[in-house]
């Protein structure tokens, strides 16, 4: 699960299929999909969004979508 990663840790996306269609599409547009390496940059307080980095670009997504993304630590 995404949230098991702390700020600064890296991971690889294993499964993204549980995420809603719209969000999945948008992430795909940004080149983030299964197999992408990501790095958690920071986590906003009070259940706010998290900021991830993939291939040199930063993207903000909501916590509740992030928890649906399966990630393995690397």
């Amino acid at each position: 699960m995404f949230t098991s990663l702390k700020a600064g840790e890296k991971g690889k996306i294993v499964d993204i299929s549980h995420v809603g269609n719209l969000v999945k599409r948008r992430l795909l547009d940004l080149g983030i999909t299964e197999g992408s390496e990501i790095c958690v940059k920071c986590v906003m307080p009070f259940g706010g969004p998290i900021m991830i980095e993939s291939c040199g670009q930063c993207v903000g997504i909501r916590r509740k979508e992030a928890v649906q993304i399966e990630v393995e630590r690397i």
Binding site: S17, G20, V23, G31, T33, C42, F46, M51
Partner: protein, 667 residues
């Protein structure tokens, strides 16, 4: 010749557009600055250049992206100029692949090569050009480097793609593409391969288009059969995903052959980000920045400049005009018209030019630096709790300059419900035209806490918007779907020149409006105050203006300013908010030795003044904003609602503030 600029969001299309056409369009550092189609003429007159909103693919999710797909399907274009962000080549090439399938002449501008090389990414433009079969020209749009070469290439080379079918989608898909193309044969001028692939990817716009020309069920059958066989023979979940993977594989091969990587430096962005989007500091930093902005605008810098300008206008300029009028023996009527009408009305607005420019400078700074998207990220948690998303904060921030582009910016919000909510609430953001009212009143009543009082109004606008968002989203606009994925662009050090252009571009409208509408309005208002049922040159209290204002005044009495003067200025404020100030200057006209600020104390108590400012903040979207709401929502009902709720909420809040304040013994 028509050339369309197309590329991913925030890759510098508009910067390039400005460079190539010599015009100035709005640029900023976040995704979705351009939300509509814009046309300009090349500097050397070789043709017209069309600037389009940025898209990731031709399969749209949001409305600004829909503009592009619909442009491809319905408009004719001779050549495409595809701008790629060199530092994000892989993602950018997904769009390029689709454009190549469109089979129109294509030229690639490889932008941000400087950023890429900083990150250690080296791209062999020549080799890339060979691989793709179209010319590739490296450029740096921001500085204009390479633009001449780009224009040369556009005007001299013919760049019809030499390679066909760069991506092989596998036997099954290719077979289905052939089948679908056969159905479409002779019925469309667009590339059939392009239409077929987009259809399989589930592009709604293309689906609409093809079902208009051929039988939809047949196409549906082909698509369904294909999806079936794909799922059977490969381990994929959906057909669009399969197509994506095939494209991706082709792109990866191209990238491997054309780019080399070495270690680059860590971008400055990450260091700044660790502070401004810090867990706890993010929000306070945002508020601090806003506070600094208001201190500079109203206290440290803006007010002294405005005062100096005021001194100049009411002193030498007014007396100069007066002398000139006496010299040509102008009649008393003309004399009064110019001095009491025009100088008071137009001058009263022009005085605030310095403050407006300072505010616009800061808004430009926010837009250009890349902070905008960060604010959206920081605000998302709050926005989510009221049924909006963080992206809605960007239109609202732009609304601080002018509500009209703010409402347009809502196009980047993907879900229709959130977009509508944002459109309805953006008018509550205090636009720059309301600023002169605050400046005048805080100067007269709250001299010691100018910036704080004005900040309180801006924050009030945001808070009311959030509360109403919660109210609307839990009653009329219920829906669960929400989408928040935001690209955070790297920070850029804003260049002074582009900052100045951006500030000037926003601010000049204010000056122009003073010379046109405010001028005309001042003449009109002055005539109404000069003439009355009893003839010309009546006492102002017996004028037509007093009669009109007097009808509404009793309604305003409970909220603290039941005078015909206040009512009359509120009416003119619907046309443009600046008109409120010019109307007041004419109504409360005073000979040059005392000022309007001093005079106001006779008509308002501080409490009534605050109530008045709150009412101005909220009461009605101006005419241009109302028209924009109508165009963007396409609904008379929602437009009327936007006006109606604003009036109600303004009245209720002013009532609470004034009556509540009186209860607590404030005056």
């Amino acid at each position: 010749m028509e050339i369309a600029l197309i590329g991913n969001p925030n890759t510098g299309k508009t910067s390039l557009f400005n460079n190539l056409t010599g015009s100035y369009e709005y640029v900023g550092n976040w995704s979705g600055v351009t939300v509509e189609k814009k046309v300009g003429v090349f500097k050397n007159n070789i043709g017209r250049l069309i600037d389009l909103p940025g898209v990731y693919t031709l399969n749209p999710l949001s409305r600004d992206e829909g503009v592009v797909t619909s442009f491809f399907l319905n408009d004719s274009v001779d050549r495409l100029l595809n701008i790629l962000d060199a530092s994000q080549l892989e993602r950018n090439l997904h769009l390029t692949m689709q454009l190549l399938e469109f089979e129109k002449p294509l030229l690639i501008g490889l932008n941000m090569i400087d950023v890429a090389s900083q990150r250690g990414i080296m791209i062999d433009a020549k080799k890339l050009s060979e691989k793709l079969g179209v010319p590739v020209v490296p450029v740096v749009a921001r500085s204009g480097k390479g633009c001449d070469q780009l224009v040369d290439t556009i005007s001299t080379k013919s760049f019809t793609p030499v390679k066909k079918n760069l991506v092989n989608y596998g036997v099954e898909v290719e077979k289905a593409i052939a089948d679908l193309s056969q159905e479409l044969a002779g019925k469309t001028e667009h590339s059939k391969r392009f239409l077929a692939i987009q259809y399989f990817e589930g592009n709604e716009y293309v689906k609409n288009y093809v079902t208009q020309i051929v039988d939809g069920e047949k196409l549906q059958a082909i698509s369904a059969k294909l999806e079936e066989s794909i799922k059977k023979s490969y381990e994929v979940k959906t057909l669009p995903n399969f197509i994506y993977m095939k494209r991706k594989a082709a792109i990866e091969t191209i990238i491997a052959e054309t780019t080399s990587r070495r270690d680059g430096v860590v971008p400055l962005s990450e260091k700044i980000d660790s502070i401004v989007t810090n867990k706890y500091l993010g929000m306070p930093i945002f508020l601090l920045l806003m506070y600094l902005m208001f201190m500079l605008t109203f206290d440290w810098l803006g007010t002294p400049m405005s005062d100096a300008l005021d001194g100049l206008l009411t002193g030498p300029v007014a007396s100069g005009i007066e002398n000139a009028l006496t010299a040509v023996h102008a009649s008393a009527f003309i004399h009064a018209l110019i001095i009491e009408g025009l100088v008071a009305g137009v001058g009263g607005v022009l005085v605030f030019v310095p403050q407006i420019f300072i505010l616009f400078f800061f808004i430009s700074l926010l837009e250009d630096s890349g902070y905008m998207a960060r604010v959206a990220l920081v605000m998302d948690r709050i926005m989510e709790s009221v049924g909006l998303n963080g992206k809605a904060f960007i239109p609202m921030m732009i609304g601080f300059g002018c509500n009209v582009p703010g409402i347009m910016a809502a196009r980047t919000i993907e879900t229709p419900r959130e977009r509508l909510l944002t459109i309805l609430l953006t008018p509550l953001m205090s636009c720059s035209a309301r600023l002169p009212v605050y400046a005048l009143f805080v100067g007269a009543f709250f001299a010691a806490h100018k910036a704080f009082i004005v900040l309180s109004l801006y924050v009030l606008g945001i808070v009311v918007a959030l509360i109403l968002a919660k109210l609307f989203s839990s009653t009329m606009l219920k829906s669960q779907t929400s989408l928040f994925v935001i690209e955070l662009p790297p920070y850029r050090l804003p260049q002074f020149q582009s900052l100045w252009r951006s500030t000037w571009d926003k601010g000049k409208g204010f000056v122009r409006k003073a010379g046109t509408f405010i001028f005309a309005g001042s003449v009109f208002i002055w005539i109404l105050s000069y003439a009355g049922p009893g003839g010309l040159k009546v006492e102002m209290d017996d004028s037509f203006l007093a009669a009109i204002g007097g009808v509404i005044a009793p309604i305003l009495a409970p909220i603290g300013f039941g005078t015909w003067q206040a009512a009359a200025s509120l009416i003119t404020g619907f046309l443009a908010k600046e008109a409120i100030i010019s109307t007041m200057n004419i109504i409360y006209f005073v000979p040059s030795d005392s000022s309007l600020q001093g005079l106001l104390a006779n008509y308002y108590t501080p409490l009534a003044a605050y109530s008045f400012m709150v009412f101005i903040l909220l009461y009605i979207p101006c005419l241009a904003t109302t028209a924009t709401i109508y165009k963007e929502t396409g609904s008379k009902k929602w437009t009327a609602f936007a006006i109606g709720y604003a009036l109600v909420i303004a009245y209720v809040l002013s009532l609470i503030i004034y009556q509540g304040g009186k209860l607590f013994g404030l005056v």
